[in-house]
Amino acid sequence: MKVGKIIKVSGPLVVAEGMDEANVYDVVQVSENKLIGEIIEMRGDKASIQVYEETTGIGPGDPVYTTGEPLSVELGPGLIEAMFDGIQRPLDPLRAIAGDFLSKGVEVHSLDREKKWYFTPTKKVGDRVEAGDVIGTVQETPVVLHKIMVPYGVAGEIIDIKEGEFTVVDTICTLKGGKELQMMQKWPVRKGRGYKRKLNPTVPLLTGQRVVDTFFPVSKGGTAAIPGPFGSGKTVIQHQLAKWADSEIVVYVGCGERGNEMTDVLMEFPEIIDPNTGESLMKRTVLIANTSNMPVAAREASIYTGITLAEYYRDMGYSVAIMADSTSRWAEALREMSGRLEEMPGDEGYPAYLASRAADFYERAGKVVCYGSDDREGAITIIGAVSPPGGDISEPVSQATLRIVKVFWGLDYALSYRRHFPAINWLNSYSLYQPSIDKWMDENIDPEFSANRAKAMSLLQDESELQEIVRLVGRDSLSEEDQLKLEATKSIREDFLQQNAFHDVDTFCSLAKQNLMLKLVLEFYDQGLKALKQGVYIKELEKLPVRDKIARAKYIPEENIDEIKEIQTELIEEIDKLISKGGILDA
C-alpha cells in the first residue's frame, strides 16, 4: 500500500498526506517506531490520525503505513483475569518487555499465542452450524466456561473438529468449503456486535448494596450513571458493584482515573471470594486500564474496547456488567481530540457529537437473544461514573448521559461529608426500571417488598419537609407523631441505607437480609405510632434498649439472618411493655 507522509503533529493528533488509499477509522502505523494510530478524519488525501501512543520525537516527513483494517480487538480464551490498555495491549507482557511505564512502538499480541487451552467440542462432524453457534468450550477459569462460537457471517457443515490442547490461533474446526475456525476471532471495536433481538430487561442486577437493590435497582441489561463530585465515593461504589454484582462476567474500565485505583482492584479482587461461585472475584473479571498518565487518545478507545469484550461474553449467553470509571475523562479525551482537529466546539468545548457518542456507547447495553440456533439470552449492564466539575450535573457530559441512562444514582457531597456512605441521595436519584423490578421482587423475595420500599421512601420524603420546619422553629415544636417520624427515618438512614464497604459482613447484603432489615426499621415506626396513640411518650420510645440492636442488625452475618426476626419480636415485646406501663386509661 501507498505510504503517507506526516505534515503536521499536534500532541496525539498527526496529519499525513498521500493517504488517498486509506479509509476513515483505519488503523495506521505512524513513523518507523510503528506507533498505533487511527484515522478519524479524511480531507482529500490528508488524513487526521489519532495516535494511541506518545508522539514525542515524531516530525513532519515521517512515514505512515496503512493497515487497511479498522481498530479491532482479539476475542478468545485468555481475556479473563488479564489487564489491557485502551487498545487491548496486555499490560503484563508489556511490562516484561518494556518496564513499568508504556514505551513507544512495543508490539505484543493481545491474546497469548503460546498458551494452550483444552478445547472440548460440543458439535460433531456433519453438524450444520450457523453464525453464533457454539462449536465447543474451553474452561477459561474455574468460573468461566468460555464458549467458542462460529464468527458472524460464517455458516456451513463441519467436516473436521478436534479435541485437545490448542493455542488460540490453531485450527480447531473446518467447515465444508475449506473455512477454518480458530478459537480467536477479531472484531472492530466501534461496531456493536449483532444480536437477534432485544428483550425488555426485568430481572434486577443484585449488587448487595442496600440503597441500590432496594431503592434504585438496575436491571440486568440496563444502564446506570453515577454522577458525583470529587470525594463522594464514585470509585468505591463502582468497586463495590464490580465486586458484588451477581453478573457472571465483570469488565472494569479504568478510564482516565488514578493509577492507584486500578492497583486497589488488582490488590483486592483476587483476595475476595465471590459469594455466588465461591471462587476469587478475579476469575470473572477483565480489566481495562487507561489511567490518567496514559496516552489520551487511547482513552477514547478504551470504553469501546471494554464494551466489545463485554459483548463477546454476552454472545456466549452470559450476563455481563461493565463499569466505566469515569466517562467524563472519556468525554474530555474526545474534547481534546476535537480541539486539535479544529472542529467547532459545542457546550464547554465538548464536541457537538458528544451526546450521540455517549448514546452509541450506552445503547450497546441490553438484554438480547444472541445469534446462534439455541436462542440463548445474554445481557450487558453498563454502569458509568460521571465526574461533573464541582458536582454540578448541569454540565454537558452529565446531561448527555442522563438523557440515555435509566438509572441515576446521584452522589451527594453533603452526605459524604456527613460520612453517610454510599452517598447516594435518596431524594433526587431514580430508577426507571422500578415498576418491572418491583414485580420481580414481590414474586421472588416477599409479596410486601415493594409496598415496604414505597413506604420507606415516602417517610424519607416527609422527613426532608419536616427537617425544614425543624431548622426554623426547632424539633420540640413538632407533634409527637412527627418526632417519631424523624426517629424512624433516622433509623432508615443510619441503620438501613448506610453501608460500610470496608466491613467484612456489611460490605455485602443479600436481598433476603435487606428485606428483613427494611421490615425491622419500618416495624419500629408502626409500633411506635401505635404506642403513641396509647399514651406512651416519644422520649421513652427513643430510649428503647432494642434500638441498639436494630442499629447493629446490619452486622449480623448472612447465615444468622433469623436473628433479625428475633429482634423484631423483641421490639414488639418492649413496646407492649411500655404501653402497659404508661398507657392511658380506657375511660
Binding site: S477, G535, Y537, G582, L585, A587
Partner: protein, 105 residues
C-alpha cells in the same frame, strides 16, 4: 357551636377535695404512674385547664413538659395542703420572662 372545655384538678385527696364544691372535676391520685395515666387521659377528654398539685407534678416532670407546647390543656401547678414547693411560681415567672423579655413580677 361554642366549644365548652372542662376544668380538672389532679392531686392527693386531702388537698383537692374542696374543689368539688366549685363544680370542678376532681381526680385523686396516689403515685406517679397513676398521676401520669390520669393527666394523659383527661388531657384527651376535652379538659381546657388541668390544675395539678406541685407535689404530684414533681413526680411526673416528663408529663408536665409534654403539655408545655400545647395550647390546650393548660396545665397549672397549685400548692397543696402541705404548702408550696415554689415550682408553680417558678414556671409562671419563666413564662412571663419568655413573654415580655424580663421578669416584671
Amino acid at each position: 357551636m361554642i366549644c365548652m372545655f372542662k376544668i380538672a384538678v389532679v392531686g392527693d385527696k386531702d388537698s383537692i377535695l374542696a374543689f368539688k364544691a366549685l363544680g370542678v372535676d376532681v381526680f385523686t391520685v396516689c403515685d406517679s404512674e397513676e398521676a401520669r395515666r390520669t393527666v394523659d387521659t383527661i388531657a384527651r377528654n376535652n379538659y381546657g385547664i388541668i390544675f395539678i398539685t406541685e407535689q404530684i407534678a414533681s413526680l411526673i416532670p416528663d408529663t408536665i413538659e409534654r403539655y408545655d407546647n400545647e395550647i390546650i390543656p393548660a396545665v397549672i401547678l397549685i400548692p397543696s395542703n402541705q404548702g408550696t414547693l415554689n415550682i408553680g411560681m417558678k414556671r409562671i415567672n419563666e413564662n412571663v420572662e419568655k413573654a415580655v423579655g424580663s421578669n416584671i413580677l
